[in-house]
C-alpha cells in the first residue's frame, strides 16, 4: 500500500515536472535547465513561481493560440475558479480601485532588487491599459478602457462580467496575456470589486 502511494506520488510529480512538452524530450531538457538555473529557489518558490499549473502549461505549449478543444478546457477550468466578495457587492470603491490601477509593486523577490518587506501588491492596470483618458503614462498591451463604463448599462450583470474578467480573464479569453488576478490570489475579492468600480462608476475618472 505504502509503495503504491509513493509510486503514485512520483508519477504525479514527474507529470508536473515534464509539463506540456512531452515529445522529443525537449520538455525534460527544459526542466533540467530550470533545475540547474534556479539553484537557490526554495520549495515554496518552485511551487508558486516556477512550476506551472495546467493552464499555464497548455498556453505555453500552444504559444498562447490553443486549438478549440484546448481552449474549451482552459475556459472550463478558469470558470471554476470564480469566487466573490462575502457581501456579494461586485462593484466597490472606485477610489481604492484607482490606487490599485497605478500601483506596480509587490511580489518581487531575489537578492538584487526585492520589494521592501510588507509592500502592497497592486494591479498595475496602467502598465497595459489606457484607463483615465488624462493619464498619458499608459501601456497598450491590452485594449484601451477609457470610458469603459459608458459603453455598458451600469447594472449588476455588467459588474459581474467585469469582476469575472479581472478575477480570471482566461474564462473568457483562453491564454490571454492578462494575469488571473483573483484566481492566482494576487488581488482579494474586495480589491477586484474596487477595480470593477474604477472601471464602471460614473464618477470614476475612467468615465469622466
Amino acid at each position: 500500500m505504502k509503495r503504491l502511494v509513493v509510486t503514485g506520488l512520483v508519477c504525479a510529480m514527474s507529470a508536473a515536472a515534464v509539463g506540456a512538452d512531452d515529445d522529443s524530450g525537449l520538455g525534460k531538457q527544459v526542466e533540467q535547465v530550470l533545475r540547474h538555473s534556479f539553484t537557490t529557489a526554495t520549495p515554496a518558490e518552485w511551487k508558486t513561481r516556477l512550476d506551472q499549473d495546467e493552464v499555464q502549461a497548455l498556453c505555453s505549449l500552444h504559444h498562447n493560440s490553443p486549438p478549440a478543444a484546448v481552449s474549451e478546457r482552459i475556459a472550463k477550468l478558469s470558470s471554476a475558479t470564480m469566487r466573490y466578495p462575502e457581501d456579494g457587492k461586485l462593484s466597490g470603491d472606485w477610489k481604492k480601485g484607482e490606487k490599485l490601477a497605478s500601483l506596480g509593486t509587490g511580489g518581487h523577490i531575489g537578492k538584487i532588487q526585492p520589494d521592501r518587506p510588507g509592500v502592497r501588491r497592486g494591479g498595475n492596470c496602467y502598465a497595459c491599459h489606457v484607463l483615465a483618458p488624462d493619464e498619458i503614462d499608459a501601456g497598450n498591451i491590452g485594449p484601451s478602457l477609457a470610458g469603459y463604463g459608458r459603453r455598458f448599462a451600469n447594472s449588476p450583470a455588467t459588474a459581474r462580467i467585469v469582476y469575472e474578467k479581472i478575477w480570471n480573464a482566461q474564462a473568457f479569453l483562453p491564454c490571454t496575456q492578462m494575469p488571473r488576478f483573483g484566481a492566482n490570489g494576487w488581488l482579494t475579492p474586495q480589491e477586484v470589486a474596487d477595480t470593477v468600480a474604477f472601471l464602471l462608476d460614473p464618477e470614476s475618472p475612467v468615465n469622466r
Binding site: 506551472q52 493552464v55 497598450n140
Partner: protein, 279 residues
C-alpha cells in the same frame, strides 16, 4: 558613426567627448517635456532626442579596456590572451558571435561566463572573485562586457547555433521564451511577441520579428538612464525575470545562455551598435 533607425533610443557613440551627464537633469527635462505635450509618444521622442549626444557607457568601455590590458589576479596576467571564440586575443567581432560552444570547457558560454573562464584560467582568480558584485554599477564584468561588445561595432550578429549543443539550447530558449509561470502568469512572450507594444510608455521589442529583435540585441549592453548604470544582456534578462515575479536565475546559468542563444538567433544579421543608451 553607425546608427540604427529601428530602435530610436539606442545611440552608439564613437569619438564623441563624454560629457558629464547628470541623469537627474535629463529625466527632469523629460518630465516637463511630457507635461507640455499633448501626444505622449511625441514627448517620448523629445526625451530620446535629448539623450542622443553622449553615452556614459563610453566610460565603461574605457574602464573595460584598462581591465583587459592590466595585469591582475594572483598570476598578475592580463586578459590579452583570452579566447572569446575567434582565437586568443581576438576581440574584434567576438561579441557578435556569442553565445557559442567552447571546446575547452565543453559548454556554451555567453560573454560574461566566457570572461569568467579567462579570469580564472589566465589570471588565477576564483569564480567568486571574478563575479563579485557583478550587478553593481561599474563592476569589472560590466565594464569588460561593454568593452568587448564595443569591439563588434558594425559587425552583424552571427549565431547560427549549428553546434549540437547550441542548437539544443536555441530550442530550449524558445520554449523558455513562451513558458508562463508565477503569480502573474508571465512569460517573455507576454510582452515581447507583438509589434508596437508598450508597458506604460516603454517600447517593447517583438522578438518574433527579426527586425525588432535586431534593434534590441544589437544595442545591449546599454547605458540605462533610469538606473544610472550600464546593463549587460544577462543583467537585462535577470531583471525581466524579477519583474515576472520569478526567482533570480544564477549568474551564467543555462537558462540565461539558452535565452540568449535563441534571441541572438532571432537577431542574426543585425549590425552591432553597442553600447546603446536606453531609458
Amino acid at each position: 558613426m553607425k546608427r540604427r533607425s529601428s530602435d530610436a533610443i539606442a545611440v552608439p557613440i564613437r569619438g564623441g567627448i563624454v560629457a558629464t551627464i547628470c541623469a537627474g537633469i535629463l529625466l527632469g527635462g523629460a518630465v516637463s517635456a511630457l507635461g507640455e505635450d499633448v501626444d505622449p509618444l511625441n514627448g517620448i521622442q523629445k526625451y530620446r532626442d535629448m539623450l542622443k549626444d553622449d553615452n556614459p557607457a563610453e566610460l565603461s568601455e574605457m574602464s573595460g579596456e584598462a581591465l583587459w590590458t592590466t595585469p591582475r589576479g594572483p598570476r598578475q596576467a592580463t586578459l590579452e590572451a583570452c579566447d572569446l571564440g575567434l582565437g586568443p586575443g581576438v576581440i574584434e567581432g567576438a561579441y557578435a558571435r556569442l553565445p557559442r560552444w567552447f571546446p575547452d570547457v565543453a559548454r556554451v558560454q555567453d560573454i560574461e561566463s566566457r570572461l569568467v573562464t579567462c579570469m580564472t584560467t589566465l589570471q588565477g582568480m576564483t569564480a567568486e572573485q571574478a563575479t563579485k558584485d557583478w550587478t553593481n554599477p561599474g563592476s569589472d564584468l560590466e565594464n569588460l562586457v561593454t568593452y568587448v561588445a564595443g569591439k563588434s561595432l558594425g559587425v552583424p550578429i552571427d549565431v547560427p547555433a549549428l553546434h549540437p549543443r547550441e542548437a539544443e539550447l536555441a530550442a530550449i530558449g524558445e520554449v523558455l521564451f513562451f513558458r508562463r509561470a508565477g503569480p502573474l502568469d508571465f512569460a517573455c512572450a507576454t510582452c515581447h511577441s507583438q509589434d508596437g507594444r508598450r508597458i506604460r510608455l516603454q517600447d517593447l521589442p517583438n522578438f518574433l520579428d527579426p527586425e525588432s529583435a535586431r534593434g534590441s540585441m544589437t544595442t545591449w549592453p546599454a547605458y540605462r538612464v533610469s538606473q544610472s548604470a550600464v546593463w549587460t544582456m544577462e543583467r537585462r534578462l535577470i531583471d525581466c525575470i524579477r519583474q515576472m515575479r520569478q526567482p533570480e536565475p544564477e549568474f551564467g546559468s543555462e537558462l540565461l545562455i539558452a535565452l540568449q542563444v535563441w534571441l541572438q538567433k532571432q537577431a542574426n544579421g543585425g549590425a552591432m551598435a553597442a553600447p546603446g543608451m536606453k531609458r
